[in-house]
Amino acid sequence: VIDTPICESAFTGAAVGMALDGMRPVVEFQFSDFLTSGMNAIVNTAAKMHFRHGLGVPLVIRAPAAGGFAGGPFHSQNPEAWFLRTPGLKVACPATAEDAGLLLGAAIADPNPVLFFEQKSLYTRVKGEFTYDSSAPLSGAAVRRPGSDVTIVSYGATLHLALTAAEGLADEGIDCEVVDLRVLCPLDFDTVAASVEKTGRCVIAHEDYPDYGVAAELAARLAGELFRALDAPVGRVGARFWPIPFSPPLEQATLPTAEGIAEAVRELARF
């Protein structure tokens, strides 16, 4: 364990060098918002080293992310989409305690640079079995709730909002299937597609902005590859498109809610 000054550009660059020298560094950013300060080492060096020089960079970057605790605009962001369009990076965002252990072990064993997003509101709120298997794949979505009417795709803390919404909607006669992406890159589109082929309707819900991110990508792929299976437009639920406010009521009004997801599902169910 190496205790470093708060200088993200320095400790990220050092970690890339350590990885190139045969180590397997696990870097913790205090808040993922400050990944910007390590961006060059991550995006221009670590992600491209294999393609430029044939060298692996087995680096894990732990990135505590997301809001819900009045952290304001610099300590509440969900920056996963910044990295999803960088070839050479893998991106994970576990929603459960089981996956937190399992996917972190898989990330450390992976020969590629991995962004490991830990949504902070999950830290003490969810419990589960601790599982560690360094040979586990760093890929694959999971169906957390089977259903037949509408697919809700989610990940991270919002998965639990989706499950809450699904439980409430069941009382209204709407049977939701909830898919947890778990790993955002590589994306397990097959599991999403299999669910949507069954239900014909899909809402994608995450805490990140629905614009230009995972929801936008999935909506485009569903429209392009499963158009004939869709009975309704693809719905997207996420944070309102402005910086996360300090004010708790404003933050609450900015972030997605279980009721917001439920309303998006009801709208699709009416088609």
Partner: protein, 53 residues
Amino acid sequence: VSDTVTYVEAIRLALRTALGDDERVLVLGGTSAVAAAPFGRPPACRRSSASSG
């Protein structure tokens, strides 16, 4: 290994396991609190250091 743990405890345990299993693994981070947090430093250290983040 199997036990009921919180999300952050699962991360701590995974780090400990990786550090024990593979001598190539090392952990580095932005503050002493952050680097030590997976190994049992009281949460107050994380909070007090947040203002410097």
